[in-house]
């Protein structure tokens, strides 16, 4: 930050150390920009680290949200390539249990085909051979390329690679305010919780990648980003009840995914909306419902000991009053160049999306940042193999 202007690369400040911020730091660093990322807590401590750990094949969204589904299957393929060793590549099953589920079957298989998601139709017996603990009254199942990841360590590999390439990644640094002059954002005032000191970081572009907190951070620059924080409850049960990701074959509902995660089985999720993502409730009735719905897929769920129940807030795009449960909102993402939308220069917001699509989100956002700065650089994240997660903590 001390070298003479003109010789130094552009400096981008990313606010928010979730999957999106990490992937963006990686992408921009590869394009030759100088990147600083600040995160007020541990990396991935907001929404990213709390998700199922499901690498979506896209099948879940194939009926009804083809855009998200196609994003998913593309990114699914890329991530397996650039993050070798990070996924449990056991595949996923969509299981039809009721006659109602079977009505959905043909539509589901066709939608998967339309979106380019490989889907193998299985009989009841074949499905039980894969997963003996499944509800024996299942009618049919479809096998798709879902996979399991570690919700924290997969994104950490983006941080690790960005760090290896020279990005300055700082956890425990909280943005107190943005520096705005004449509708130009030129940096941020931050508190370093490690030293307790307040400092100012200046930047050519500030990117708001704070997920469900995007609205709050955008407000610091005087612009409005319509975000509906939409929490969901998840349960971690002791014991591995399945080896593949088990999904219910119906329109997305509560408690219809079971993801094996190490020696645990994760059931999710419910969905409602809140105004403030800061303090999330874990409603008792949601916990109960996860147990009930999960047991429909794998009966042993009912007898499994609860290891943990928690909530995570999705950053869904939409205004207040748009949705009650959040299920109606698209799972896709959106990037705002606030120069275009609000006449505020030097400020970009990226929000929405999901862990599976973090790289693709970063690519599009990095394109916008580079265009704003007049930098011509190709995205190289599709081919670049990522560093091991532990390097995110290297000196």
């Amino acid at each position: 930050m001390t070298s003479a202007p003109g010789t130094r690369p552009f400096h981008v400040l990313i606010v928010g150390g979730g999957g999106t911020g990490g992937a963006l730091a990686h992408d921009l660093t590869l394009r030759g920009l100088h990147v600083t990322l600040v995160e007020r807590g541990e990396f991935t401590s907001g929404t990213t680290g709390r998700h199922h750990g499901l690498l979506h094949s896209g099948a879940r969204y194939a009926v009804g949200d083809a855009e998200s589904a196609i994003e998913c299957i593309e990114e699914n393929t890329i991530l397996r390539r650039i993050c070798p060793g990070t996924f449990e590549e056991n595949g996923g099953l969509f299981v039809a249990i009721t006659d109602e589920d079977m009505e959905y079957y043909d539509e589901f298989v066709k939608a998967c085909a339309d979106c380019g998601i490989p889907a193998q139709e299985l009989t009841r017996e074949q499905a039980l051979a894969f997963e003996p603990n499944l509800n024996p009254s299942l009618k049919a199942a479809v096998r798709v390329p879902d996979a399991t990841m570690d919700a924290m360590r997969m994104p950490l590999r983006f941080f690790a690679t960005a760090k290896r390439n020279g990005a300055d990644l700082r956890n425990y640094v909280e943005v107190l305010d943005l520096v705005v002059n004449n509708r130009v954002v030129s940096g941020a005032v931050v508190r370093d919780h490690v030293t307790g000191k307040v400092a100012e970081i200046s930047a050519d572009v500030v990117v708001n990648a704070t997920g469900p907190w995007s609205e709050k951070v955008a407000a610091m620059a005087g612009v409005d980003v319509p975000i509906r924080p939409s929490p969901g409850v998840m349960l971690a049960l002791r014991g591995r009840l399945c080896n593949m990701v088990v999904n219910r074959m119906h329109r997305s509902g509560d408690g219809d995914i079971i993801v094996p995660q190490r020696a645990l089985s994760i059931i999710g999720t419910s969905s409602w909306t809140v105004d403030d993502p800061e303090e999330l409730d874990v409603p008792e009735d949601h916990v109960q419902r996860m147990y009930e719905e999960g047991a429909k897929l794998i009966p042993d769920v009912a007898r499994a000991e609860l290891r943990s129940a928690w909530s995570a807030a999705r950053p869904l795009i939409g205004s207040r009053g748009d949705a009650d449960t959040g299920r109606e909102l698209s799972r896709t993402f959106k990037t705002y160049d606030h120069a275009e939308t609000d006449g505020v220069e030097g400020f970009v917001t990226i929000t929405g999306g999901k862990a599976t699509t973090l790289r693709g989100m970063a690519e599009l956002c990095a394109d916008i940042v580079c265009r704003k700065l007049g930098v011509e650089a190709e995205c190289r994240t599709r081919e670049t193999e990522l560093a091991p997660h532990s390097e995110a903590y290297a000196a």
Partner: protein, 141 residues
Amino acid sequence: MSDAIDERRSRGPVQRKGLGPRPVGWLDPRGRTLGHLAFVGNRITGLGLVFYLYLHLAVLSLLIRGGEAWNDFLELATTTVFLLLDVLLLFGLLYHGLNGLRVTLVGTGYVPNRQKALWWAGAFVGTLVLALSAFRILGES
């Protein structure tokens, strides 16, 4: 921000078990289980045995000063209090020896997961031998 960065990179304090200088951490029982107890016991008896070795040499050196000094000592050595100390010494020997045997068996990987069972077995054998010996030793006073 650069000052803050440098400050951040210096190494922070390392928290230890217990208070005060390092080995005291061994004595902090909070949250510890049987394995830790056995370890601390081994350290204490080990130190005790080393102390005894030098004490023993000091006592033997009384012989240099002639028979009378030695006889005086023997008088002292047969008092009940002194014999109780002998029992304590025997406890230290048994504990350290049996625990050492246990750690050796576990630590060479032949029974890598039987440390608790071996501890109780050692405790049983040790207590038995100690009780019988104490009976005989104290019977001499």
